[in-house]
């Protein structure tokens, strides 16, 4: 992913914008699909749906926000719709960051765990969250700053800061990581 969220040149065509987005954010979109869908077949469908929605959305891209913000909004919105659709067929109850913070970690006490195990635990944790909180934690994991997260999620700066604080504490507790950002 590009470090700086640049605005594309005026007059960029739908195809060019899509190529740019896919080249710079393709990996992040794949990670996002993993965070929203655990089943590999459904995940592939979701990723395709995101790419198609992204391409279609560039017909209306007016450059009022950065390409990165646009890409994240489209992809999160498609994924949130996917979660809503799946809600009807799945019994799993999604919870908020606040509730997750208070839940005991089933894996606590484990010391040395390999990276793939840790990644699976991280995905399990993300899969429990409601779409909006999932959006915030993913943007945080992608390394975005609070202002970008607030712009994508549509939260107030205060609420965004609170959620990020909770995410840092949660991750620090669950992954025995020193919370050196507070």
């Amino acid at each position: 992913m590009s470090a700086i969220a640049t605005k594309p040149a005026a007059g960029s065509s739908q195809d060019e914008l899509y190529r740019d987005a896919a080249a710079n954010h393709g990996a992040a979109l794949e990670r996002l699909a993993r965070a929203y869908e655990a089943d590999s077949d459904l995940r592939r469908d979701l990723l395709q749906e995101i790419h198609i929605a992204l391409w279609r959305s560039f017909q209306n891209f007016d450059g009022r926000c950065s390409l990165r913000t646009w890409v994240y909004r489209v992809s999160h919105n498609v994924a949130a719709s996917h979660v809503l659709r799946q809600r009807r067929t799945r019994v799993q109850t999604l919870i908020g960051l606040e509730e997750l913070e208070n839940l005991a970690d089933a894996n606590s006490g484990e010391e040395a765990i390999d990276r793939s195990h840790m990644l699976n635990r991280l995905l399990e944790l993300i899969h429990q969250l409601k779409p909006l909180d999932r959006n915030v934690i993913l943007a945080y994991l992608e390394g975005m700053d609070a202002a970008s997260i607030a712009e994508i999620a549509g939260l107030s700066p205060g609420n965004t800061a609170t959620k990020i604080h909770r995410i840092k504490n949660l991750l620090a507790r669950r992954f025995h990581q020193r919370n050196d950002h507070d």
Binding site: A3, G26, Q48, I52, N77, G143, S148, G154, D180
Partner: protein
């Protein structure tokens, strides 16, 4: 974007990926296919209403009783009403093109509100239009076959229909309430 990544962010961003790429031609093809599918589904709903209406048109011309004719006429009018509402509301919609212009919170809330309203409004635009036809059919039976046992059968059938409508309404109200709680949570988070 922050330059310094903590270990969990680093773990997340360095996870192995399949490297899925979708060529533009493939995207265009699938987008067209998807649109065709949506249009096909909406068309099938309309065709379903037309078939049921034609069935009632057949009944309408098949009977000599004016009361039954009025009843079948009311059912036809109800089916036309439902078909028009299906077209207007687009019961199965593709995602809006303005996806990128809405923040996640606004989009998610709008989706929840759309679902809530669709559930709440199912009574006035899907079930209620059928009621006059049913009532008229009951009256037609009462006048045409004034035998007590037969009449009781019709009344029992109507009572069962009312019970089904009430159960559907109750379930919908519960689902709408659940969606409303999610909307309230989002409003509080804004």
């Amino acid at each position: 974007m922050t330059e310094h990544l903590n270990p969990v962010q680093e773990l997340w961003q360095s996870q192995p990926l399949e490297g899925v790429k979708m060529p533009l031609e493939e995207i265009r093809r699938r987008a067209n296919k998807f649109e065709h599918r949506i249009r096909g589904r909406n068309r099938r709903e309309t065709v379903g209403c037309i078939i049921v209406s034609l069935l009632f048109v057949y009944f309408l011309f098949d009977t000599q009783s004016i009361l039954f004719r009025i009843s079948y006429g009311l059912f036809i009018a109800a089916m036309i009403w439902v078909a028009v509402q299906l077209q207007r509301k687009g019961s199965i919609k593709s995602l809006p093109d303005s996806l990128g212009a809405s923040s996640s919170l606004h989009f998610f809330r709008a989706e929840l509100e759309r679902q809530r309203d669709a559930i709440r409004n199912v009574w006035p635009w899907y079930l209620a239009p059928l009621v006059p036809g049913y009532l008229m059919l009951t009256i037609a039976y009462a006048f045409t076959f004034p035998h007590f046992a037969r009449l009781m059968g019709v009344v029992a059938f109507d009572a069962a229909m009312v019970a089904v409508f009430v159960v559907i309404w109750k379930l919908n109200q519960r689902a709408a309430g659940c969606l409303q709680r999610m909307i309230d949570e989002l409003n509080a988070a804004e």
